[in-house]
Symmetry: C2
Amino acid sequence: MDSNEELVRFIDRASSLCMPSLSIDCVIFGFHSNQLKVLLLRLKYGPNWSLPGGFIYRQEHIDDAANRILMERTGLNKIFLRQFRIFGDPGRSDLNAMSTVLEAEKIRLDGDHWVLQRFLTVGYYALVEFSHVQPRADSISMACEWADLHRVPHLIMDHGAILESALGTLRQQLNYQPIGYNLLPAKFTMPELQSLYETILDKKLDRRNFQRRMLGYGILKRLKETRKGGAHKAPYLYSFNLRRYRKALDLGLQSSW
Amino acid sequence: MDSNEELVRFIDRASSLCMPSLSIDCVIFGFHSNQLKVLLLRLKYGPNWSLPGGFIYRQEHIDDAANRILMERTGLNKIFLRQFRIFGDPGRSDLNAMSTVLEAEKIRLDGDHWVLQRFLTVGYYALVEFSHVQPRADSISMACEWADLHRVPHLIMDHGAILESALGTLRQQLNYQPIGYNLLPAKFTMPELQSLYETILDKKLDRRNFQRRMLGYGILKRLKETRKGGAHKAPYLYSFNLRRYRKALDLGLQSSW
């Protein structure tokens, strides 16, 4: 089946089965040894990169839709996605770009067709260990790849702004929610935890302030073991106190006023 | 015009001018001298209380829609509304309740009418000084009133859950964003600021921890004046350092790691 037929089938299916005027876009951040990446799709029709996105079935919970879309379009499953914002600028749907694609593909649609309406989109984001997951493209994409956050290609529509907004949310979240479980090994050093924060914030942090603040949250257990083998004094190993970590996920860090 | 005609006109107008399947609901918290209230509408058709809500015009920015809806339905203008979540459970639209209202009002609509579709709703919230604003009901509501948060009547559909979610967001926000400007007098005492936090959190806070934490944020200026006239030692007066306060609004409190 060529890309034209695939596209026609995709549009047909979505317009008959899905909610009108509302889409979902997923910003999947990947962390691995001091690198922060974002998952992008290269669309078959055109030289365009986009966030993985899709539509909501007529009787589907919006959170289920987000997980299904991510699975269908990237092969990633069981990732904890957080909704962070709805993007509702009336100018965000680029109807000219859409018409260009449809013309190039020789697809004719009525002007009031489902796909040519204004769409608002709900942004979801997640942060995963990218060496644990193997993204794969779906049938209407050429490629599904991790892109370095410092070298993101031009994205379609307002996807660049959606990515920026997700990154801002992730960084702000560091101030009130614990992070690191599933991203770090079960036993980790304070410098490894600090690297995670520095990578997300894209700046160096003061070692002593960082340690004081992290220990103050009460979510870390200092183990009796140390990390052997380095040139320096063997640093202590830590693990998360998962009960307190999960409590902080629910109630926020530092809720003890 | 009786309520039936008003309702028919409202439905007609909304279905021809507004986006399908998407609504907005506003949770307006009001603070005044140790009380926290929420703004509710009593709907004309039925004994039902609801959050102020409405729909998005076809070419309207969603944030503009939220402000217009709040103005139209409550008379409140120029309130800074924050989007906090989209509610997308397919069971949230109570079609039975809607059909009952329409039957009682003798309004017949096709089963696939705009108003009988599944709606997702975008939640917005704000916190205002309630003695500064005079709410008024619109033409399809009987009343627009401040309700004590401890005595909220039963709300239609999932509006109770939307209110809870907004309250949770407001409380979590205290951990990373400054609050108080426009809610307190220009000069205030530390106990007055603490009262604001205690009222929102609905619990007592430790006086010394609170003061240490507040001063640590660097957003307060201690004035040379004291508050005269009490039985106790005259407490210091404070004002907000607005430059730092606004910076913390953008970047989050304690962003200095």
